[in-house]
Subunit: 286 residues, 2 copies
């Protein structure tokens, strides 16, 4: 029996349609911010959040740094949380921003995007080392239906590198956007979207529109909504390539919503993600 | 009693002088390449290599990707190997090429470069997200005497991003080199070298000389010798800022030397690192 592996973007598009959602909930667990009754158990916290947001979020985005900061226990929690999310019908975007030469990138691909049951559905990737460093992820995408999001323009004040002007007058990140577009050309699925997406900070509303034009087939992953100050209203232009052509990521404003509302952390995360999902869907115009 | 924390570069300079070595041995453990009698136990393999190279190498450079690829056991091995190296009097440069927005970079700094007994002495860092993303490592360097090596020009064929021409005619990586120089200005120790170093591929001999001029106070970490094709002879110009102003990294050609020689893996790694150390020291002219 032939097994056809769907591309990452087609799997994503199916989930976006099913949940009517383009929301990604970032999992940035910090023991000191958790409800006291969890005693800093970040796996329990993240799994509770996943239960609460599963009807509203197409994906969760565990940020590897916060797990790595807690040593072996943290990494064990990361693996547990990834498996839990996938069983709950939520895609996993491992936010590691990995980037290394090809022979090393193969090990990162093996760590996150390969095998019979890859740990994550997608990985964020740093493009600074060029195409050679991205090839192993493209190979994984072909074989396993996984994807990557290349960090093109970040939500922080990173303009000292990304915004520098090139000889043709473009900003540096436009050049990288064009490369990302090329890297993803062979991996476009039935919905017209590629398994090679791009991270573009939602905090730069104009850049989001430019990114959409430069990378018409890329799924844009837009972090920075909520705690970092961006609003879904700024992101309308991101969705012109289809309902699944952009994902809006919110982290602290969802998972730590209980700290403001006083509600149970699951209730607060569920309510906040439900609200955001509807807000984003309305903005997307689909 | 006042405890004076030495800067990373001064600690490094003392070790370079003590061992008369600028050699860094990269630890890229792949279970399938290990001696059969170790049954894929990468921690035992790496600790054996450390015993063998400790008289000859100022530092080891465990490549996180290969440990991450092995899951929790891999990460447990990574922690064990770091602690073992530091007890053996060998500095640890964690090769993670991490890079993320400031609030996340703080977690990476906590994971590798902070605490009473930081896991590593230095971390390789990706500069694509700009100064804001590097600040947490600079803060760690001030408080804990740790360091970073920013990935400026890599040993792979990464020119599609790093070599693009800017409006003033320089290649992109020259711009990043200048930034790295600025980022490290406040962290220069008594030997005139900064805790903010730079990774420059030894495979680009001309770039190594340019990097030296652009970043006179940076310790240059030069990978690519051995399996990737560069020779120590190409690297003379890297050392003009002092004996500790450049480090030559070799990985596969040292740790897997037994596969060619047929000797015990420790004997082969010891012999190869001893040879490389003397070759590099002679080239450095100190």
């Amino acid at each position: 029996m032939a097994v056809v592996t769907l591309t990452f973007a087609d799997r994503l598009a199916a989930e976006v349609a099913r949940k009517r959602s383009q929301l990604v909930v970032g999992l940035d667990p910090r023991p000191e911010l958790l409800p006291v009754e969890l005693r800093g158990d970040i796996a329990r916290f993240c799994c509770g959040v996943i239960d609460a947001v599963a009807p509203h979020a197409v994906a969760v985005k565990p940020q590897l740094a916060f797990f790595e900061a807690l040593g072996i226990e943290g990494m064990a929690a990361f693996h547990k949380v990834c498996a839990y999310a996938r069983r709950a019908g939520v895609l996993v975007i491992a936010d590691g921003k990995r980037g290394d030469i090809g022979s090393t990138a193969r090990a990162y691909a093996a760590a996150y995007l390969e095998g019979d049951d890859p740990r994550a559905d997608a990985l964020t990737v740093n493009p600074w080392l060029g195409r050679e460093s991205v090839e192993p992820y493209l190979a994984a995408a072909r074989r396993h239906g996984t994807g990557i999001f290349c960090v093109v323009k970040t939500s922080n004040a990173g303009g000292d590198v990304q915004d520098v002007t090139l000889s043709d007058g473009r900003p540096m990140w436009h050049h990288v956007a064009r490369l990302v577009c090329e890297w993803g050309e062979d991996l476009v699925g039935e919905h017209g979207l590629s398994a090679v997406g791009a991270v573009v900070g939602a905090t730069h509303a104009r850049a989001v529109g430019e990114a959409r034009k430069l990378m018409p087939q890329a799924v844009l992953l837009l972090p920075g909504v909520g705690a970092q100050g961006a609003s879904p209203r700024d992101l309308e232009r991101a969705f012109t390539s289809g309902p699944a052509s952009a994902l809006v990521a919110a982290s602290r404003s969802v998972i730590y919503a209980f700290r403001d509302s006083g509600a149970d952390f699951r209730t607060a995360a569920g309510a906040q993600s439900s609200r955001l999902k509807r807000e984003v869907w309305a903005v997307s115009g689909w």
